[in-house]
């Protein structure tokens, strides 16, 4: 370790950095950061976990499922089934009235001070239920005026709703746009309900696409931030999504979130039942990378439920059931604005420190002629605080970074079953992990047992515990040097591209890890 690195790690690991909580967990993904962002826009996104990758480590969101009806049918959605153990869009365990939703927001906000955003994302389409959706916004803005409101829509009813959206100060809208070509669209949408009529096939897709793009234009004209979600369906719209990216960028969308299709047969969707596969992790990353030059890409989406509560990546909705909310006396709920503001101030302090850390990281590892070496993917087991601090067997998900000599860039989460508690036998769950990480050359852990280490190595994934309890990013940069050196000396054989890395989607259910030492 050279003097510069030594010095740097000392800064990172010093008491100051410890206090800073989830340090450089947040320098990844879509956070364009204040330097290259309009301050007005930054103000809107900085506390929104879905719009700012950085914010998602600090702030939580909740969805209130007040909108059960939908006006279109998508081939990846089956509205009939709801499983409480599933975590995916469109799924919801209980429906809420606007009144109960406002009460729930109050109860959650007083329990979880990091909760800054309330969204309406279903379980159907928010704008196919306009009265319920806007009544909910009205009630929430009365009881919790500091909370940001957002909604998610398929866009069919959007153009005429833009004024109302603006009236309720909703400044974030997500539109799901899977195509801009009806020929592609007819393979995704069997029908839509529009102007008192059911439309099918190409006509349906044409109307939907026109309405989506018109709605997008009207939103951006009103300076409402728009995130575009696209479901990547291999063989249907995967190549076409680049054209979608260009069209939405042209119309002023702020962020593009390309998500993998979820299509298990047991979900009973058309795609699930017809064997339409989802993309591999490599395919998803390749598409996201190829769109990145044109606009911000979201990489931290967990495809959460329409009634999710908590930080992205965890789901605490089971703690706030209708029965529990109904039992709460509203007078017992203390909406502690001071505590909420104190939390936000603390986060700002933490972020300031992180920015300094990020500046110090720049250029680290550029020595020794490493800058020409190809990038590698490395998985990290972490419980947060920006540290390699989780036992391999306790990890329920891994963070994956793309590492070059200059930069360790967060590119996504890989969810796995808990190896130590796998209900299918340990060998099976270990296989699932090697599949989920098969594009990575290494996994950094706090500790790993001999057996899994051997299995991982057989799968071409080095289990590295030499950086236990050190900061993730500097460790990755150092590891890059070691790895490249190993390849040059012939000690390490570079990995052939496999292209078959499986994606397991959805947020973890139950109380997940709280990665923040800034809490409390």
């Amino acid at each position: 370790m050279d003097a510069k690195d030594q010095n740097f790690l000392k800064v990172i690991q010093g008491p100051e950095a410890e206090a800073s909580g989830c340090s450089e967990k947040s320098t990844c993904g879509s956070s364009a950061g204040p330097a290259d962002m309009d301050p007005e826009v930054w103000n809107k996104v900085k506390n929104h976990p879905c719009y700012s990758e950085e914010a998602h480590h600090f702030y939580a969101r909740m969805h209130v499922a007040v909108a059960p009806a939908c006006n279109i049918q998508c081939n990846y959605c089956n509205r009939k089934y709801d499983c409480s153990n599933e975590s995916r869009p469109g799924v919801v365990s209980e429906r809420l009235s606007p009144e109960l939703a406002a009460k729930k927001v109050l109860a959650v906000a007083s329990e979880i001070h990091q909760m800054t955003v309330v969204g309406i994302a279903g379980a159907g389409d928010s704008l196919a239920n306009p009265d319920k959706t806007f009544k909910t916004f009205e009630l929430i803005s009365k009881v919790a005026p500091d909370i940001k409101l957002c909604l998610s829509t398929n866009g069919l009813a959007l153009p005429e709703m833009v004024d109302r959206i603006a009236d309720y100060n909703v400044d974030h809208v997500t539109v799901t746009i899977n195509m801009v070509d009806p020929e592609v669209g007819e393979r995704i949408y069997p029908w839509i309900y529009y102007n008192k009529k059911r439309w099918k096939g190409r006509d349906a897709a044409k109307i939907l696409s026109e309405r989506q793009l018109l709605g997008l234009e009207r939103l951006t004209a009103r300076k409402i931030l728009v995130k575009v979600n696209s479901v990547m369906i291999p063989g249907v719209n995967d190549l076409h999504l680049k054209a979608v990216n260009r069209e939405v960028k042209k119309r002023g969308a702020f962020l593009h979130n390309i998500m993998p299709l979820i299509s298990e047969p047991e979900h009973g969707t058309y795609y699930g039942l017809t064997g339409q596969r989802g993309p591999t992790a490599e395919e998803l990353k390749h598409l996201q990378d190829s769109c990145e030059g044109e606009m911000n890409m979201m990489r931290h989406c967990r495809q959460c439920r329409a009634d999710a509560v908590g930080l992205l990546g965890e789901d605490r909705s089971a703690e706030f059931t209708n029965e529990k909310i109904e039992a709460i006396e509203i007078t017992d709920v203390a909406y502690d604005m001071t505590a909420r503001e104190a939390y936000r101030d603390k986060v700002e302090e933490t972020r300031e420190k992180e920015r300094k850390i990020k500046e110090m990281l720049a250029g680290l590892g550029m020595e020794n002629g490493l800058s020409q070496a190809p990038p590698i993917l490395v998985a990290v087991a972490t419980q947060g605080e920006g540290m390699v601090n989780q036992h391999f067997g306790h990890a329920r998900e891994f963070q994956v970074y793309e590492v070059t000599a200059a930069e360790a860039k967060f590119i996504g989460h890989r969810r796995v079953d808990l190896y130590c508690e796998g209900g299918y036998g340990e060998d099976d769950s270990l296989t699932r992990i090697t599949q989920a990480l098969s594009d990575c050359v290494a996994v950094m852990v706090a500790k790993v047992g001999g057996c899994p280490k051997k299995t991982l190595e057989e799968a071409g994934i080095a289990a590295v515990d030499a950086y236990a309890f050190q900061s993730i990013k500097p460790s990755l940069l150092k590891y890059f040097g070691e790895y490249t050196e190993g390849v040059r000396s012939g000690r390490i054989t570079p990995k052939a591209a496999g292209g078959q890395t499986k994606i397991r989607s959805g947020a973890l259910t139950g109380t997940g890890q709280i990665p923040l030492s800034v809490i409390g």
Partner: protein, 85 residues
């Protein structure tokens, strides 16, 4: 013929309720929806197709009720009776 909702299929999503021009659709105690056959005109006189069927996300759920067959003239008369000319 009035329409009926197959309760085994209905998810209670409520999409049909506001679309019915006759306000014939109401909630059941179980959170699902039902059609009052005395008020259903199959949307005759209003729309080309039955709105509940057009908007329902589940196939074979809002369907013609074979126990309640009426011809188009009868349905039109029903519409006039309910709403006037």
């Amino acid at each position: 013929m009035a329409y009926t909702i197959v309760l085994d299929n209905c998810t209670g999503c409520s999409a049909c309720e506001p679309e019915c021009p006759n306000a014939a659709i109401s909630g059941t105690d179980d959170g699902l929806f039902q059609i009052d056959p005395d008020l259903c005109t199959e949307c005759v006189g209003f729309f080309d197709e039955a709105q509940c069927t057009a908007v329902c996300p589940i196939d074979d759920t809002c369907i013609p009720d074979r126990a309640c067959v009426e011809d188009r003239e009868t349905l039109m008369a029903k519409k006039v009776k309910l709403h006037g000319g």
